[in-house]
């Protein structure tokens, strides 16, 4: 009983010990904050990684892919039974994506994925990350009239018509300008003094246009050299994709079917948003997006065909939507097209059966099914030695990244725990001083018959209660910080003028946090343990004190 009484009295009268426990409080609070934010990031990342990846992927090594798809599908259904919830087939192929921006061709390296719009949504959260709300509900490769994300007001079929009209108008302007400038150049080369006359003659013809048109004309004039070069070099390919750069060609080839971008579209393609997006900050500090191409624009994709000797094939697609998972790796590298079209283009369809080969089969497991076990089962049926399949869970596919994040969390935790351990040494020193200060009291207690154990437990209890107070306060502080982390971040921003959490870098608008009760429990327990362990040595010293010497101590 005296232990409890003395413990509480020492706690109330020795504020120096409370000061030493502040370090534990801060350590605990920091650990809670860091862990919550880290697991917030991790969860967000898991969600995003898993969002695009199905649970298990059966991949083929070869370029030709899995040819006997139906029987493999049936076997997988038999092996997994009720654990299997969804199954879809995909074709993956590295490819080159090109599109034209203001006369310039831009090339991007992408991973072209052929997906089945009927079943792909059943294995992953892919459609959740599309920008058009209707596509989110029901995946489709059709171009919508409009109504995309608020960042994409100018997108869709309507935009496409306007763009084509504008392009055609500009093209006409350009042709006219071209004629005029070639005339001017001709005149210039002929006679120097006549050139002034020609220039003045040109002026009245330009006064017909409004100012905006003149600007356009000047722009075109500036980029003229480039356009001409390109037209000469890639004249063939320009004709292939039917960009109406040659109005006379259209007139000439009237009977032949000509692709009219104002009325028709190519097969749809869904691009990762970062492929065409440039994120920047306006002078007002707002985050703004600029799109190099948008739904309604056409792109050209080059990829190897299947077969004994892969050849490069080119095909046109119309962008129908963007995909924004906020994982930059995916958003900047993936483009999705309908699987059937890709199989056709790559010659993957068996002419006899009409069945297309696929490069992977994606599986989704039912809720609560054991991921590793299911994967193991499939591996047993399709050992890598006998079948050209690679069977992986999504965690294995993203293993290095997940491991890196895990490692980061672990190291941070170790470092922060070191801080608490350092705090433990502070407690140790303070406790030693308190024991020295209390030498006489220890002597008195011993003379009154207190046992070694009793004296020791006073100081152990003291350490424990300090640990409780320190980690308890730390826990409350940490949780308060985590709950209000975004307001604290904005407060810090307003004080320091520096952005704490930059959405242009992280893609999150807010700092994600997850409070894990178990983690917090372990942190608090660890801190208490350290406080108790730090009080063991002083407590032992107190217990071993000789009563007579302790009583004589001045």
């Amino acid at each position: 009983m005296f232990k409890l009484l003395l413990c509480s009295r020492y706690l109330r009268s020795r504020y120096i010990a409370l000061a030493s426990i502040i370090s534990v409080t801060l350590g605990v609070a920091t650990m809670i904050v860091v862990n919550s934010v880290m697991s917030g990031f991790q969860e967000e990342m898991y969600k995003r990684l898993h969002g695009i990846l199905s649970d298990i992927v059966v991949e083929s090594h070869g370029s030709n892919g899995i040819e006997d798809v139906a029987s493999l599908e049936n076997n997988i259904r038999d092996i997994l039974g009720d654990d299997l919830e969804g199954l879809t087939t995909t074709v993956h192929i590295p490819s080159m994506l090109t599109f034209q921006v203001r006369g310039q061709w831009i090339t991007k390296q992408v991973n072209l994925i052929g997906i089945d719009d009927q079943t792909y949504a059943s294995v992953s959260d892919f459609s959740q990350y599309l920008l058009h709300p209707q596509n989110r509900e029901r995946l489709s490769f059709m171009l919508r009239e409009g109504g995309y994300d608020k960042r994409l007001r100018d997108a869709g079929r309507q935009y496409r018509r306007m763009r084509v009209a504008a392009e055609r108008y500009q093209e006409e302007q350009r042709k006219q300008m071209e004629l005029q400038t070639t005339d001017a150049a001709l005149n210039e080369s002929l006679v120097q003094d006549e050139s002034a006359e020609v220039q003045t003659a040109n002026v009245p013809s330009e006064t017909d246009h409004n100012v905006a048109d003149q600007d356009h004309a000047n722009e075109l004039l500036a980029g003229e050299d480039f356009d001409l070069d390109l037209a000469m070099e890639g004249g063939l390919s320009l004709n292939d994709i039917n960009v109406p750069d040659d109005p006379f060609a259209q007139l000439d080839d009237a009977p032949q079917h000509v692709f009219d971008p104002a009325k028709e579209e190519w097969t749809g393609i869904i691009l990762g948003i970062s492929i065409s997006n440039i994120r920047h900050r306006t002078p007002e500090g707002e985050v703004a997006d600029f799109f190099l191409c948008r739904p309604g624009d056409d792109v050209k994709v080059g990829f190897p065909t299947a077969g004994k000797k892969p050849e490069i094939a080119f095909a046109d697609f119309t962008v129908v939507d963007f995909y924004e998972s906020k994982m930059s790796e995916y958003d900047s590298g993936f483009a999705f097209v309908p699987i059937r079209r890709l199989q056709e283009l790559r010659n993957m369809i068996d002419p006899a059966t009409g069945e297309g080969a696929v490069s992977s089969i994606q599986l989704k497991l039912a809720e609560g099914a054991n991921l590793e076990l299911a994967c193991q089962k499939l591996r047993e049926h399709y050992p890598a030695e006998l079948f050209p399949y690679r069977i992986q869970t999504w965690k294995e596919m993203q293993g290095p990244l997940l491991a890196a994040v895990q490692m980061e969390t672990t190291i941070l935790n170790i470092l922060l725990f070191m801080i608490i351990a350092v705090a433990g040494f502070g407690i140790l020193a303070t406790f030693f001083m308190i024991v020295v200060e209390k030498t006489k009291d220890i002597g008195i207690l011993k003379s009154l018959g207190a046992s070694k154990k009793g004296v020791m437990s006073i100081f152990l209890g003291y350490g424990l209660s300090l640990g409780c107070v320190g980690s308890g306060v730390g826990m409350v502080l940490g949780l308060l910080f985590v709950v209000n982390i975004n307001s604290i971040a904005s407060l810090l921003e307003s004080f320091t003028g520096r952005e704490v959490f930059d959405p242009t870098i992280y893609y999150f608008q807010q700092i994600p946090t997850v409070i894990e009760p178990w983690t917090i429990g372990w942190i608090v327990l660890g801190a208490m343990l350290i406080a108790v362990m730090a009080s063991v040595l002083p407590a032992l010293r107190a217990a071993r004190m000789h009563p007579v010497e302790a009583l004589r101590y001045e």
Partner: protein, 274 residues
């Protein structure tokens, strides 16, 4: 723990004397005059006995012998004073008797039970339940109030639950004891708010809390002025007289020693009976 010492030769009638301290009739004649003469104790049975006690303090290679073979005994109900010059070993003897220290050689018996070599836990229990100790510098715990200081030995004796069950009775007893020593108005004060005499009276009340058989006093008046010292001595003699409490007191003051039944003089670590 109570049977750490089996009181074989216990005189039941005398032993119950201390228990009667509970009674409200107990009154301390603080101001009554004392004749100061040597009185004879009421009993012939031995309370504590030591034979051939030796104790030396070592500091590095230097050995300072303090006790060089002391024989000492004290009967039940006897008030014995140990006198001697500073450094004669009287405090050491008292500590040995009170099991606060262990002799290098010799034996100590408390009611015919050897106590110098028993297990530390038994020794702690013995100190707690059979012995009461008071010191020159009072040795109260500064964090605790007067009342808590007095109850402390019972807190040490009982666990949390045990104390909680009988806390009212124990607190009532502590208040009675404080009333006995004339400090019932000082229950909530901290030791540093009390005078020296008051502190010593609190220490006496604390020593009596567990109904000890033996009171060991180490210079109880050594730090007090003459008048206050007188009051403390009155308290001790009346405790001895009215309740047959065995008291062994160490003092360097011959006048104070005269109040005891018997004086044992220590000279350079040896007993010289007067």
């Amino acid at each position: 723990m109570n049977n750490a010492v089996s009181p074989k030769s216990q005189n039941a009638g005398l032993a119950s004397g201390v228990h009667s301290l509970r009674g409200p009739h107990f009154d301390v004649p603080v101001n009554s005059a004392s004749d100061g003469s040597q009185r004879t104790p009421a009993s012939t049975s031995v309370a504590i006995r030591a034979t051939g006690l030796k104790k030396a303090y070592r500091k590095g290679n230097v050995v300072v012998p303090v006790l060089k073979g002391v024989d000492f005994s004290c009967r039940e109900g006897e008030f014995t004073a140990i006198v001697g010059q500073s450094g004669s070993g009287k405090s050491t003897l008292l500590h040995l008797l009170g099991t606060l220290d262990v002799p290098d050689a010799g034996e100590i018996f408390f009611r015919d039970c050897r106590i110098d070599n028993i297990h530390p836990a038994k020794r702690d229990a013995l100190r707690n339940q059979q012995f009461g100790m008071i010191f020159q510098f009072y040795h109260l715990l500064p964090e605790l109030s007067t009342l808590e200081n007095v109850v402390l030995p019972q807190m040490i004796r009982n666990g949390v639950w045990g104390y909680w069950k009988q806390r009212r009775a124990l607190r009532a007893r502590a208040m009675e004891l404080l009333e006995t020593v004339g400090l019932s108005h000082r229950l909530r004060h901290r030791p540093k708010e009390l005078s020296g005499g008051e502190m010593q009276r609190v220490a006496i009340a604390r020593a009596l809390m567990t109904n000890p058989r033996l009171l060991l006093a180490d210079e109880p008046t050594g730090n007090l002025d003459h008048e206050t010292g007188e009051q403390i001595m009155h308290l001790l003699t009346s405790l001895n007289k009215d309740h047959q409490l065995t008291i062994i007191m160490v003092t360097h003051d011959q006048l104070i020693a005269k109040r005891a039944h018997r004086t044992v003089q220590l000279v350079e670590g040896c007993v010289k009976t007067i």
